[in-house]
Symmetry: C2
Subunit: 327 residues, 2 copies
């Protein structure tokens, strides 16, 4: 409450706010089932059984898509953050290619790994019935459909990809906490790649109206409170040895790098990926304590994306981090 | 501005508010293309060429899904209304079955006609690659996939179904206006079935912040203004002869029928479908000037839905309305 307290450590986690957020959240549905899936997945990758390398496999938790903030308990209206989930889905593919196993924590309905080249409504746009029992893929979409089905099935069936969906900011942070605590045992082999567009503001469940907000009584005034930053807690308590990459999206280029740098220091991230809304598919800046690296997509290749060199760079950094942690 | 003016006609359209809403909206992208599609579709159904009945074909505009309200011009955050689009998609199927042609104005990404029985992610869940060039549908989903592809293709290819997508409240109302003005020539053979969950509140484009709202400066206070009700304008000017059905969704049963009845009188609807959030798939009440009719789904059939008897009733009412208009 004392804003003039200059002795406050900027790394301090506001525990009271975090407790209040989790207390205010509706209970996570299906929590036991999620925990059990996570336990199995992490156990499999804690041994050498999959890679055969004799060590612990690298596991990355990729978060993807926007979170919603309900404005009413029996939810009709909510605030949402724009995110197609393209970056998270593409990055998941490159992490899998680099030998990582991936926990993909994604917003329901957003882009899925291996499905980026498909049209919006793949069933209606890619297929046709040729006769009573035969379905054909239109030639123009054949390669995209084949890639989606074979790539996705191989990753899931092989045990390299665990997909966990969320919708609200409450679900997102509750599941992220479960994941982070499960991944603690992986030590520095764990990575967090927090590409989801998490809401900054929410309406505490307890102060939320039960019924639909009525529209007849003039303008609507709303007060939203800040979602406490969980990054400090992730770094300090949930998974303190993991390599952590967060994202900063701004529409205003002027303040982007400054804010990314602030997040790096404040939350002790290992890297912050700074991206501007309009150019985010062309380039991003990876902000680290040893300097900033701008990563571009390869413009000579029409299908090349910025996630390919970005994941390449982060995997290198993660390797160096694991090596350093050995000593 | 004078709230004490009791002489105000409750049917009065607040033109100034409506002008201010449309002036405040960003220009509709692809407007010329939409107008040209509408012109062709209506022309086809204004003649007897399709039905061969010698008269004007019946055309219904079904609106479906929720609208978004951007909170920033370069939009990262927005307010959304919950709606899967199931009701609009199901109703479209029954209208087609009853011989109507349908303009389906739907929120991008929501449920499509003939696709209700599919899982969330039909491509990844229904199909598999059997070898290099063969895709198979899993047996358990075969009938659902077949129904989706054949039903949807027949309606679109036959010229009975025109699909127009929207995302924001601005797009929704701009396209609805284009549709309504196009449908005017159909006279009483036109129907509006306004099942979309349109936002009640918006941030006027002109007062909207250019950049992403910053989160560091404490709680966020927002003032949203009411979206003007366009129903009066639809009835009075855009398509005055059309049969109009609007929807009222509430979570509080106590006020539902009262509000539906108020909408019926205020906007001169021909019917208002009143539904409560928790029971909306089991029953709805059709509120009309001659009384209320409760419509239930047929509980003896596991796959039966409430839209089947609802559309049956509305088609009957529309027939009576067309007959009355002849005299």
């Amino acid at each position: 409450m004392d804003a003039t307290n200059n002795s406050e450590d900027i790394y301090e986690t506001p525990y009271a706010e975090i407790d209040s957020f989790f207390d205010s959240a509706p209970p996570l549905r299906d929590g036991t089932n999620i925990s059990s899936k996570l336990k199995d997945f992490i156990e499999m990758h804690s041994s050498s059984s999959v890679s055969g390398s004799g060590g612990v496999n690298r596991v990355v938790c990729v978060t993807s898509g926007g979170t919603t903030v309900p404005l009413e308990r029996r939810c009709v209206r909510y605030i949402d953050n724009f995110s197609s989930g393209y970056r998270g889905a593409a990055s998941t593919e490159y992490f899998l290619k680099a030998g990582y196993s991936v926990i993909f924590l994604y917003r329901r309905g957003t882009c899925q790994p291996f499905c980026r080249s498909l049209p919006d409504d793949p069933l209606l746009e890619c297929f046709e019935f040729t006769d009573e029992s035969n379905i054909q893929v239109h030639q123009s979409h054949f390669e995209a459909v084949k890639r989606a089905l074979t790539g996705h099935d191989a990753a899931v069936a092989g045990g390299f990809l665990l997909k966990l969906p969320f919708t609200t900011i409450f679900e997102y942070l509750q599941i992220l906490q479960l994941i982070a605590i499960s991944m603690r045992s992986l030590g520095p082999s764990a990575m967090f790649y927090l590409a989801a567009a998490a809401s900054d503001f929410y309406v505490p469940w307890k102060s939320m109206t039960e019924h639909k907000i009525q529209s007849r009584s003039g303008p609507l005034d709303m007060r939203l409170v800040q979602v406490p930053k969980m990054l400090s807690l992730l770094r300090k308590e949930w998974s303190p040895m993991a390599f952590c990459v967060s994202f900063k999206l701004e529409t205003d280029k002027e303040i982007l790098l400054e804010k990314a740098d602030m997040a790096l220091r404040k939350y002790k991230m290992h890297a912050v990926v700074a991206n501007e809304l309009l150019t985010r598919k062309e380039e991003v800046v990876v902000v680290t304590s040893t300097g900033n690296i701008t990563v571009h997509r390869d413009k000579t290749q029409p299908d090349a994306d910025v996630e390919c060199p970005l994941i390449h760079l982060l995997v290198e950094r993660h390797s160096a981090y694991i090596k350093d942690s050995d000593f």
